[in-house]
Symmetry: C3
Subunit: 173 residues, 3 copies
């Protein structure tokens, strides 16, 4: 792995403050700030959530709405002196599943991109595997895909955190 950039994984639950924590990291890193939103506004609830996140984030971000082509888009904007926040991986995994993309190939493409990036990349994701086994098979597959992706990224990341109540526990780095 020859990488001049920096890769950080931030895991946490719903409303754990993982996005705000990640935004603060990006802001203190300095440089041009990019925000990759993987969420899609299918319904009013999602529109609300996206608007609220955007308001929390404030000014000074270049926003990209990338529901599916995350590895390719990261490559396109990759450059030294840039900071990129990917929010979030679990929505990306969910979008890939709904579009019947090849999860294994996509996740390998993401790992390859992160392994050689020049930017400071912070990837936010929901830890979803700490409840009762879901009755729905699709949901079980989803948490398997998400969990495997987290392990792969954590293995190559410079830093990894588990966030609860807005406060980080350091997993790596």
């Amino acid at each position: 792995m020859t990488r001049s950039g920096h890769v950080v994984l931030v895991l946490g639950g719903a409303r754990s403050g993982k996005s705000s924590f990640s935004e603060r990291m990006i802001i203190s890193a300095g440089g041009e700030r990019h925000y990759i939103a993987t969420g899609q506004a299918f319904d009013d609830e999602m529109v609300d959530r996206i608007a609220r996140h955007q308001a929390d984030r404030g000014e000074g971000w270049i926003t990209h709405e990338i529901p599916l082509d995350l590895p390719r888009h990261l490559a396109t904007i990759d450059a030294a002196g840039r900071s990129v926040l990917v929010d979030c991986l679990t929505l990306w995994v969910s979008n890939l599943m709904m579009s019947e993309r090849d999860l294994k190939a996509e996740s390998e493409a993401l790992i390859a991109q992160l392994s050689s990036c020049a930017s400071h990349v912070v990837l936010v994701s929901n830890e979803v595997g700490l409840g009762i086994v879901p009755e729905n098979r699709m949901a079980r597959e989803f948490r398997d895909h998400a969990g495997r992706l987290h392990q792969k990224i954590a293995a190559i990341a410079d830093k990894a955190y588990f966030v609860a109540a807005g406060l980080p526990l350091k997993l790596k780095g």
Copy 2:
């Protein structure tokens, strides 16, 4: 914030030992011990859970059953030399939602009270955001409210812990 008291947030899953951990903290802090139970015994299962918690806790506690008016009641019993265990915030949030109270106003009132308290206050709460997104909209709103409240309290707390298997991970302090 001018506070002579001490505020601790204890997060954990169901049966994670978060209540016992919090009780031990209160006992070792010394002083008059108050226990605020937010749970309501609607059915036999809940009656059992409450009785079991009470038996685990043992003697020496002044118990208050406060399903809704938590900020006001905390103010009423607030005094230097007193220790107060609030068990738990998630049930309080759930009671507020069922009674259609204004969650934002209640949570601001709690933060205001905690910011100026004289007692040693330990607040126990369930982390509920680490499973699959619930299909039920009410459940999604509930975990959003709980998560936001945890972040607000953690921001002003002196200490915060994440408890698993009865053992604490320090988030703050």
Copy 3:
């Protein structure tokens, strides 16, 4: 407790990398490696999961399929110089519930065995209490049983970890 062996509890979510982390601990401990699988292959999905775990684990393990009689079987194979991986406790609890065994007696038998063991025992388990309260009563009882068992084992363990994305947070030791 007079124990010449070593007891480790490894908690984590689904696909958190807890099994791989535990396998690496057993391998670095050296000695004869035993693997106790509590899972039962009821359906194709479970057959797949078990096969995948076995492939990940590689050669050099003596495998025991023990869905129910865990404390007895641990006693049978207990010996200095042996390392035993129990994967996982949550499936054992689930099997005990489905077979209507006495959970309290079984969990006491396990604690008694672990308190006097000569082997290096690593017990893997799913933390399942960090999502929304399940609507299903059986699921609520399951997470209560699992949570209480985790607390009891953690109390007597030499070490305990919470694993996320393949990375450990130290709870004890």
